[in-house]
Amino acid sequence: MIVVGWLDEFMWGSLVVLQIFFLALIMAVTWGLLGAAAKLSSNRAAKLTATVFTTIFRGTPELLVLLIIYFGSAITLTSIAQFFDPEVKFVDIPPLWAGSFAVSLIIGAYATETFRGAFQGVDPGTVEAARSLGISSTKTFFYVRLPQMWRLALPGFGNHMLSLVKDTALVSVIGLEEILFTADIATSVTIQPFTMYMVAALIYLGFTTVIMYGVRLMEKRANRHLEGGR
């Protein structure tokens, strides 16, 4: 089997995918929480900003967002660098970071809507109960609202995580050496495009399967207080 010789390259590629996945996941959750907070706040400017954010990043192709961020940041950084040192030719954000950032913005926009809905789904009675018990609003947020919201957000957020891992494939377009890029190189050497791209597909299938089961376990855990009781 010709694939065996390429397995280590594919493994390194998979590690890059995991890196992007976790970097983007952390950022996406941050954008999602900030966006949801802004959308639910009474501040009009914050609301408008969040709406513009979700409209733009949910309405434009993922590839376009990635290219704007990568080339846009590169050209901005280059012109800043040239201002100080005219010798400089090209400065860019490392593709790993530009890619993770772009993917996180897209998923963050979707997560904003999911989190907003989930926060609204939390029974206000529980928040009032915490308040009447004299629990501070910070503690109420972390111990009452967040755990309940998490349970409601999980099904939607699980789907976002699946989209996230699949969107990492796009980052190969800006030259990051992940699975798809490896398949590309392997193809040019072995002239077996189907085999190599299929290997890439199966690796991604493995990732999505693991995430699917992971989300199912998390849902079970988040819903454990509902088991048996009724």
Binding site: G59, F71, I75, A169, L170, V173, F194, T195, A201, T208
Partner: protein, 229 residues
Amino acid sequence: MSFDIALIIESVPKMLVGVGITLQLLFLSTLFGTLLAIVTLLMRIGPFRWLRWPAIAYIYFFRGTPMLVQIFVIYYGLAQFEFVRDSFLWPALRVPFWCAIIAFSLNVGAYTAEILRGAVQGVEKGLLEAGSALGLTARQRFIHITTPIAVRLSLPAYGNEIISLMKSTALASTITIFDTMGVARTIMAQTFKPYEVFISAAIIYLVIVWFIQMGIALAERRFGRYMKR
């Protein structure tokens, strides 16, 4: 660095030519994908296990892998096999446009099949019981009760799927198709002005999404008219 307005004015008409290709990709893939989804749905919920199993495998594969990988497997991958190159399908399979259509249709088919399955399962049991009490056969119940209600139930998710497909058509630019995104990338390569070019393209895409959303809202109103009181 300055913002080049002239470049925007110059490049938007070129991109609008690309919009034609984007819309063709969108329309044909939605059409083929939906037909494929209906066939897959019937296989998936039908009584035969040997039909159910391939449907599940198909849905699992196409929902679990990135669209870009699927495009590459079909466009670059299929040429590996001699029997594909010798077959009568080769004239279509060597054209990037048709490869993109095949990849998008297969992808949309898998997602839509799941959407439709959810909708079919969401149809109230009581209605079907009422149908059988009135003496309708299983086939009549499926055509006259399940289908119209499931269509209405599936519309919001189906609409999102079309919007998501529209955004995915930008991936066609990776296999040398000059859709909106392809044109934008060409202009970008010539001028190296990412902000002007890509932001113009983004606005074009946002307008298309807006039109699709309006269309879906109209369809929802039309198919949901029985719910109005």
